[in-house]
C-alpha cells in the first residue's frame, strides 16, 4: 500500500508539472495583459516601466521559471484587477464553492444511490418508474432553467428561501462557512439543489443499472440460497459490488463541479470560485486564471488519488496489482 501511495504521489507531481507548463503557455497565448493594465493613452515610458515591473519583458522560459519558483512557495502574484495576492483571493472564495459542491454531490449520492438501488431492485414497481421518469427530467432539463424555476417558486412566489448570497457565516479554522448557521444553510439549499439534480439523476441511473445487473448473478442467488435476507443481500452484497462505478462518478462529479459550478453560482449570486474565474477571464486577469487552472489540476489529481485508494479498498483484486 505504501508503495502504491508513493508511486501515485510521484505521478501526481509529474502531472502538476506538465499542467503548469501547459497553463502558463496557454494563458500567455491569450491576449496581452498590458492592454488591460494601462490606459491606451499612457506614454511609451510608462508602458515600458509597467512591462518591466511585471517581468513581461523577459523571455518566456525565464518568466516560466520565475512563475514556477513562486508557485512552489504558494505565490501566484497579484491580481491585476483586485490588487491583492491571488492566493489570498482564491482561498477567500474556495470555501464557498467547496461547501456548496460537497453539499450537493454528497447529498445527491446519499439520496440517489438508495433510490437507484430500489428502482433496480423493484424495477417493475410504479415507484421505480416514477423515480426513473424524474431522473430523465434531471438529465434533460438545463441547469440554469431549473435554477430560475427554483428561485421563482421558492424565493419569489412562496418566499420560503432566500434567492441568493451566502447568508450568515460562522468561522471554523479561521475560515467563514455558511453551513454552520441556519441562515447560511437556508441560503445554500436552493443552489445546492440546483447543482445536485443532474448528479442525483446520474447516481440513480448508475445505481439502478448496477443493481439490476448484479441481482441476476449467481452471487446473489447463492446468497439468497444461504438464507440471507433481501436487506442484507442489497447492503452487503449488491452495494459493495456496484460501489466502484459509483465512486468513480462521485470523484469525477466532485472535481468537475468544483471547477465549473459557475452557472449556479452566477444565478444564485454565490460568491465562489466560478464567479471569480468568469470575471478574471473577461478582464484578462492572468495571475488569477493561472492560479485557478493550477488549483483545478491539483484538485483533480487529489480526487483521482483518493478514488484510486478507494478502488483498492473496495476491490481486493486490485490490491495485489497495485501494491
Amino acid at each position: 500500500m505504501l508503495g502504491f501511495v508513493i508511486q501515485r504521489l510521484w505521478q501526481a507531481m509529474i502531472v502538476i508539472l506538465a499542467m503548469s507548463v501547459l497553463v502558463f503557455c496557454g494563458v500567455f497565448a491569450v491576449g496581452n495583459p498590458i492592454d488591460v493594465l494601462i490606459s491606451p493613452d499612457a506614454t511609451q515610458d510608462i508602458r515600458a516601466q509597467v512591462i518591466a515591473q511585471y517581468g513581461l519583458d523577459q523571455p518566456l522560459w525565464r518568466q516560466y521559471f520565475t512563475f514556477f519558483g513562486r508557485m512552489l512557495q504558494g505565490d501566484f502574484g497579484e491580481s491585476f484587477v483586485y490588487n491583492m495576492p491571488v492566493t489570498q483571493l482564491i482561498l477567500s472564495r474556495l470555501p464557498a464553492t467547496l461547501e456548496l459542491v460537497l453539499f450537493a454531490v454528497v447529498g445527491a449520492s446519499l439520496l440517489g444511490i438508495p433510490l437507484g438501488m430500489y428502482a433496480g431492485y423493484r424495477h417493475d414497481a410504479p415507484a421505480a418508474k416514477i423515480i426513473m421518469g424524474l431522473s430523465i427530467l434531471g438529465f434533460s432539463v438545463p441547469s440554469f432553467w431549473i435554477g430560475l424555476v427554483l428561485i421563482m417558486t421558492f424565493a419569489v412566489q412562496l418566499g420560503w428561501l432566500p434567492a441568493g448570497g451566502r447568508g450568515t457565516t460562522a468561522s471554523l479554522f479561521g475560515i467563514e462557512w455558511s453551513f454552520l448557521t441556519i441562515d447560511g444553510l437556508r441560503h445554500m439549499l436552493l443552489p445546492a439543489i440546483n447543482l445536485a439534480l443532474f448528479k442525483l439523476a446520474m447516481m440513480i441511473r448508475l445505481a439502478r443499472a448496477g443493481t439490476r445487473e448484479i441481482m441476476l448473478t449467481d452471487t446473489i442467488r447463492f446468497a439468497r440460497a444461504a438464507g440471507l435476507s433481501e436487506g442484507t443481500v442489497l447492503v452487503r452484497h449488491v452495494l459493495r459490488l456496484i460501489a466502484i462505478p459509483l465512486v468513480t462518478i462521485f470523484g469525477l462529479e466532485l472535481g468537475s463541479t468544483l471547477a465549473f459550478a459557475v452557472v449556479t453560482e452566477t444565478i444564485f449570486s454565490w460568491p465562489g470560485l466560478g464567479k471569480l474565474i468568469i470575471d478574471s477571464i473577461t478582464s484578462l486577469d492572468r495571475p488569477v486564471m493561472v492560479a485557478y487552472l493550477m488549483l483545478v489540476a491539483l484538485l483533480f489529481v487529489m480526487i483521482n488519488f483518493f478514488v484510486d485508494l478507494a478502488y483498492a479498498l473496495l476491490d481486493p483484486r486490485l490490491r495485489r496489482a497495485r501494491a
Partner: protein, 325 residues
C-alpha cells in the same frame, strides 16, 4: 415406507416469454428419503436447475410455480411467505451452484461471506462465527483454514473455491443439499475429488442430496436413485443401478450410448440426433418424438407414467427385453 423427507408432486414452473410460455418444469414429481442421494440428469435446458430453484422458491421473475407442491417438514413450501422460505434456505435446504467463480462474492472475504451466512439464521459473536467457519472449512478439505479465512475468492483455485461454497452450504448442517452441477466448471481431476468428498460428507452428516448433472457418469457414481429429465418432465426414474443397466426410455438409452466410456476408442462419439426442443412450442404428444428412433403415431399422444418395481417411465414403447433378462 416411512414418510419421505421431501415430496415433490406435479410441480410446474413456467416462464412467460415473448415467444410464449416456456414450460421449464412441467409436472415433476419425485420423493427424496432421509440421507438419500438423488441424481437429476438431462441435457442442457431440460429444466434441472429450475427444478432445484423451485424447491426453495428462488425462481427468477417473471417465472413462477404455477402448480404443484413441495412437501417438507409437514409443510408445503410452495406458496410459503418469503420470510418463511428464507428461514428454510441454507438452514434446512442448502444449494450450491456450478461455477464457484460466479457464486462467491469477489469483493468480500471468505470470513465475511461465511459470517453473513451464519448470521442469516443465528445470532453469534464474531469469534464464534470464525471458529465455526474454520471448522467447516477444515471439514471440506481446505488446508490451514485459519490462515485462509481472511483471504478473498480470487486467492483460491477453482476447486478450493468450490469447497468454500460447499462449506458455506454446510454451515447449518442442512437436511438437504441441492448440488447444481458443482463439478462441471472444474478440471477433471478436481471433479473426481470433489465428487468423492461430497459423497463422504453426505454420508457423514446424514444429509440427503439432489445431485444435478448432465453427465450420467458422475451421477452413476454418487446417486442412489436417478431421475432422467427431458423438456421439463421426468421421463424415467428408479434405482441408479437398475436404470443404467436396463434403461427403458429411449432418451435414457441415448444418453447412455453417448457416454465416452461406452464408445470404442477411435470411433466417433455417438450423440442423440436432433436438439432439445423449444420449451415454448412443445409437440402435443411425447416431447422426445422428433428425436426418437422408436416414435410412431401412438407417440402423438402424451404417454402416461408406468411404474413397476420402484421404477417409473413415460413411453409408449419402453425397452423391456434387457430388463427381462
Amino acid at each position: 415406507m416411512t414418510q419421505p423427507l421431501l415430496e415433490v408432486s406435479g410441480l410446474k414452473t413456467h416462464f412467460p416469454t415473448a415467444a410464449g410460455i416456456a414450460r421449464a418444469v412441467d409436472g415433476v414429481s419425485f420423493t427424496l428419503g432421509r440421507g438419500e442421494v438423488l441424481g437429476l440428469v438431462g441435457e442442457s435446458g431440460s429444466g434441472k436447475s429450475v427444478t432445484g430453484f423451485s424447491l426453495i422458491g428462488l425462481v427468477d421473475a417473471p417465472g413462477r410455480i404455477v402448480e404443484g407442491s413441495v412437501h417438507y417438514g409437514g409443510r408445503d413450501l410452495v406458496g410459503l411467505s418469503t420470510a418463511a422460505l428464507r428461514r428454510i434456505r441454507g438452514k434446512e435446504i442448502a444449494m450450491v451452484f456450478q461455477d464457484p467463480m460466479m457464486t462467491l462474492n469477489p469483493v468480500l472475504s471468505i470470513a465475511t461471506q461465511m459470517r453473513l451466512a451464519i448470521e442469516a439464521h443465528e445470532r453469534v459473536s464474531k469469534a464464534a462465527a470464525r471458529a465455526r467457519s474454520v471448522e467447516v472449512l477444515a471439514r471440506v478439505g481446505i488446508p490451514a483454514p485459519e490462515s485462509r479465512l481472511d483471504a478473498y475468492p480470487h486467492q483460491f483455485s477453482g476447486g478450493m473455491r468450490q469447497r468454500v461454497a460447499i462449506a458455506i452450504a454446510l454451515l447449518h448442517r442442512p437436511k438437504i443439499i441441492i448440488a447444481d452441477e458443482p463439478t462441471t466448471a472444474l478440471d477433471v481431476s478436481i471433479q473426481a475429488q470433489i465428487l468423492a468428498e461430497m459423497k463422504a460428507l453426505v454420508d457423514e452428516i446424514g444429509m440427503a442430496m439432489i445431485w444435478i448433472s448432465h453427465d450420467l457418469a458422475t451421477v452413476s457414481s454418487i446417486a442412489d436413485r436417478i431421475d432422467v429429465m427431458y423438456a421439463g418432465r421426468i421421463v424415467e426414474a428408479g434405482p441408479v443401478g437398475a436404470v443404467l443397466r436396463s434403461p427403458r426410455h429411449p432418451y435414457t438409452q441415448g444418453l447412455l450410448e453417448s457416454l465416452p466410456s461406452r464408445t470404442v476408442p477411435g470411433e466417433e462419439l455417438r450423440q442423440i440426433p436432433g436438439t432439445t426442443p423449444s420449451l415454448t412450442n412443445l409437440p402435443n404428444g411425447c416431447a422426445f418424438a422428433p428425436r426418437c428412433p422408436r416414435a410412431d403415431t401412438k407417440c402423438q399422444v402424451m404417454p402416461v407414467e408406468s411404474a413397476a418395481a420402484e421404477r417409473t417411465w413415460r413411453c409408449h414403447h419402453p425397452e423391456t427385453q434387457r430388463s427381462a433378462a
